[in-house]
Amino acid sequence: MQETELHDLSDDADYAASQQHGSASITRSDSSKRSSSSEPEGAEIVYLKDNVTIHPTQFASERISGRLKLIKQGPSLFMTWIPYKGQNSNAKLSERDRNLYTIRAVPFTDVRSIRRHTPTLGWQYIIVVLSSGLAFPPLYFYNGGVREFLATVKQHVFLVRSAEDANVFLVNDFQDRLQRTLSSLELPRAVSVANGTPTSISVSESPNGNQERTDEGFYDGSSSTSQYNGRQKQKLHDPARDPLIHVLEKFSLVTKFARETTSQLFRESHGDGFSANGRRIHNQSSLDYPRKASDEPQKVPDEIPQKVPDEIPVPSDPCEKTSCRNQNHGEEAATNVGSFELIDCKEFGKLTVWGKPRLPPLGLEEWATFLDSEGRVMDSKALRKRIFYGGVEHRLRKEIWAFLLGYHSYDSTYAEREYRGSLKKSEYETVKHQWQSITPDQAKRFTKFRERKGLIEKDVVRTDRSLSFYDGDDNSNVNLLRDILLTYSFYNFDLGYCQGMSDLLSPILFVMKDESESFWCFVALMERLGPNFNRDQNGMHSQLFAISKLVELLDSPLHNYFKQNDSLNYFFCFRWVLIQFKREFEYEKTMRLWEVLWTHYLSEHLHLYVCVAILKRYRNKIMGEQMDFDTLLKFINELSGHIDLDAILKDAEALCICAGENGAASIPPGTPPSLPIENGSLYPQQDDDDVL
């Protein structure tokens, strides 16, 4: 991105120091970026404050101090916060953690608002909210200087105090053309900022009794790393070093929903305390800012209509009207999962939720720490959690997918797995032999077999042929796809073969390489996803239904919009669900997503939350452009290849946690990939032909 290059501050001493520290593995793109960068023309530090600190956890020992700067470059103003290196005595805080929270250079054109907090006890702090809806953790000014900070900002960018909350400062840099466009687009809303009815929720200025909870939150900042073996920690690839990972992604996206729902949860569970303090609790703010265009992934190409919304007011993202009213689950989620921070940021009266940053994929050495000497996975939950947050390196997939899919059990030893593999291999050969032994004469009288075989043969030559693994004439891997699918259609004759299966098998064979292992892993996957391919499509319908329920729960305006536009069948999510987003991401990303989904870590149904997360990300575009069913279908189809996986996973995680029990209750029992509820024929048969 141009912007990143322009504002690269690698010359900054602190920045450079933080770069040198930590692991030696600087990614190639990083180094190329660094080499291309040069001293920003006329960059000037206009504000500098030491001992500005964040509190990633409630433990005072884990606070991270650093230096906050405002840097002026040309007409633009940037903010950086660079943690000090090597000062913290606490070993629990790795360099990695420090890098993770580093704010490299955020242009003020990306900032929506700054909220100032002045607790009666303790330090003043600010929360910077970006126009994407994302917020940085509170920055505590141990040495004071908040007022000076705001005054400096005001000298350089257009800063107005919110009419309804004197502690909120709205940022609008009118020097920037893009921003100006956006601002003019937001005129109606800007008006509502100016004379909006005072409806924001005034949750509290951190009553002391709740300080731990409110200001410092539940964020279990250490839990992501406590799983690691300490000596490996340093070697992990540091996502913060990856220039591809935009600074904005270092903290998970804060959806408005999440803020509001959390605020709701929070308010309800702590409401009494607050009212006792005489704080007024109002209802939903009218100040919701629909996402700006800049909120869209920047990669979205021209094919995707970039039309500016025709000034159609978009209903704001919900709100307490969603049924997320469960008093307890917010807390539970926060504590059990340990991945959220509830912060009384009072961003227009809302609280902020941060999902855990994504981790680098599980690597070889770290993987070894999960195994005992005989090869058993000692703590499968910890393993699944670890994979949930970062996936696994490709070379480990062959070994680990077998566990995730359930082909091997976690408590099996190396020897047991090897023995079982050989048994399974002969079992596979037996089933395979069933169709291999069909003579041509027999086949003549076996229409169903001929049709199936014909269909499979047609489809395997239309599956991922652009990958070198499957390309070329008479590719042996294509033949393996055919043999495995045909064998599967005998192994599970009732289900047979259905289009989409080859898409699911392709990455499995690509990873496992071995025919029998691929088959059994595919069998394990189909145990769960088989109903997707039922003739009556019941598995698909229950999942699409569950998505509609989740959207109703998590974004009722969007739900109503779909309802009005006769789109409640959610057929536009069909391909996503049928083949687990296989066509929406590039191959490597698909594998990453699958292993995350297969952990079943937060929910068996994370994929449904992924659907909701994507829809929510584009909700304002969908509603703003008044997309009808056809337009929507086309729009969603064309998102393929343009969805930011990590960001969506973080959103999905946040949504899943926020939805809590209500979310789980929205998903009918037996919805794939849950195992079917009733016994009997898993795959209802119909009499007519298999193929038309």
Binding site: L455, R535, L692
Partner: protein
Amino acid sequence: MSYAYLFKYIIIGDTGVGKSCLLLQFTDKRFQPVHDLTIGVEFGARMITIDNKPIKLQIWDTAGQESFRSITRSYYRGAAGALLVYDITRRETFNHLASWLEDARQHANANMTIMLIGNKCDLAHRRAVSTEEGEQFAKEHGLIFMEASAKTAQNVEEAFISTAATIYKKIQEGVFDVSNESYGIKVGYGGIPGPSGGRDGSVSQAGGCCN
């Protein structure tokens, strides 16, 4: 680019008959035998000219397998034209035409123009359905008919364009209320306003999307 009209087409027929190849041949003028099979629906678009008027065809290419029929049915809504495709080398794809037609009649609007295409006519040596049978079926069911080849491009342009010409003629004859988008027709710049008059915003709409 602006258009006078936009027509929505849907391509239906058994899997493997060459629907996606026909679409690609029409939109990109190339035959790509290796591509991914269609899951759900895919889209293509191209501008053509009829009666000196630019017309944009927005084409929906569907998955053919029986399991997906229920979802395919939802795509008929608002289609002005349909290409119903079979493979002249596979008899069963011809046998299934009646059931495809029934779906189309039930779920599409009654004025949808249907073009029957016997594809893969380059494989004449493997022919399993004669041209006469195709013609006969089309005649019985009131369809336009052509044999075509996505591979050699034979009749591909013609199939798409003559379908559009038929739709255009119907517009001229006042068969449609073109202001009603459920007929699969959108009026852009220079199009004839429908009986109820032109619609506001149609001009900008035409300019806005030309993908």
